[in-house]
């Protein structure tokens, strides 16, 4: 091979510079990302993080979700909701989510009770949404195959195939699914599939003024959400069901159901 000394140095130099630049933005191999999330889906593209410390219970997320996804605003159904947990020093736990927190929490009246602030030991808000489980019981249970998981792990419902039997609604351990009052089919949170596939944030994440809801890219270790999940003490809801949920929570407590 007749390689000039000058050319050889050029190639070596540019490769080294290139490698240096690339290592600063290291993307994880498919397997590596799945390992961090404890997920077996190597094509997973999104992961959700809820920081309960930052949630103030304003309910802007619920309002935005309903308006974005055309969920009937005044019907008692919602794709996402915010729960309030108040634990008193006598061990009583009060948990409520009036109207799915569509109008926020504007009074200190958990479950309609008046409480003395001095009696509160713990009190906080927990936003809930579809966990886009890696092993979704709703998908497994659908007798007609109307609900399915996309390659990236988002669980969707085909409104033209759903017969409205309600098996999936019963099988979701998180109570995320409901019957759509207009279309008479099963309805659920899609993490705003139409937005995330265009590079936008889900409506609830977009509407949250306090960053309590965040979405991230699990294949990028420099993504703040992925970094948090990989390095902080996060928890998932109802791990014992083996559904492998993909919504991670900061600041969960045993009183959260």
């Amino acid at each position: 091979m007749s390689l000039q000394r000058r050319e050889f140095l050029k190639i070596v130099g540019s490769t080294a510079v290139g490698a240096g630049a690339l290592s600063a933005f290291r993307f994880l191999a498919k397997g590596e990302a799945a390992q961090i999330l404890g997920s077996a889906n190597k094509n997973q593209k999104w992961v959700f993080l809820v920081n309960t410390y930052n949630c103030v219970g304003c309910g802007m997320c619920v309002r935005a979700c309903k308006l974005e996804n055309e969920v009937p605003y005044n019907a008692p159904v919602s794709r996402t909701w915010v729960e309030r947990y108040v634990e008193l020093d006598n061990g009583t736990v009060l948990a409520d989510s009036p109207n799915a927190a569509r109008d926020g929490f504007t009074a200190d009246n958990p479950m309609g009770k008046t409480i003395n602030p001095a009696d509160i030991t713990k009190a906080f808000f927990v936003p809930k949404l579809c966990n886009q489980c890696e092993k979704p019981p709703c998908v497994q249970n659908c007798p007609v195959g109307a609900t399915f998981s996309t390659k990236e792990g988002i669980v969707l419902v085909d409104r033209t195939w759903c017969i409205g039997c309600g098996y999936c609604i019963m099988s979701c351990p998180y109570g995320v699914r409901f019957f759509h009052p207009v279309y008479h089919v099963a309805e659920k949170c899609t993490w705003c599939y139409h937005r995330i596939t265009k590079g936008l944030k889900p409506a609830c994440v977009f509407a949250c003024p306090f960053g309590a809801r965040q979405i991230g890219d699990p294949t990028n270790l420099n993504d703040p959400v992925t970094k948090t999940i990989a390095t902080q003490r996060v928890a998932v809801l109802k791990d014992e069901y083996g559904t492998k949920p993909q919504v991670f929570y900061l600041g969960l407590d045993r009183i959260v159901r």
């Binding site: 929490f105 504007t106 139409h194 596939t197």
Partner: protein
Amino acid sequence: MSHVWRPLYVVAGIVAAILIIRHFVVPPQFGVWERGYMYGWHNKAAETWWANFRVGYKGRDYCKDCHPGHYKQIMASPHAIIQCEDCHGPAINHPDNPPKLQIIKSRLLCLRCHTKLPYPTSLRSQLPGFLDPNQHNPGIECVSCHNPHSPVLGGN
């Protein structure tokens, strides 16, 4: 032996008929990817349908060119963390459709954050607000004194 073969032919015929019917009835968009039939089968048509759903919330950048005054004012205020569409509703195709967005003047909109709730370990307890909002000018809309785009009285 023909009494054995005849029912077998019938069964084979039924199986073939089912496979032929299946070929025509199952839409071509139905498929299975690597995770197998339990979780891995999918429906391309429905995926596309959901991906093409209309986007309602457009973000501040959609608002700022036509409403530069409001944009600059709120971006300089503590309310800069709140999106325009949080209070005004989704822009969708504004100004074509809808031609006008909501202007909510209810106290309840403000009280979503500004009722002080004494909840430890929640950011809510650290927001400025009133333990009993009825003590602060009851019955009067917040916006009659406070500009939501620049809420601090005496501010810009």
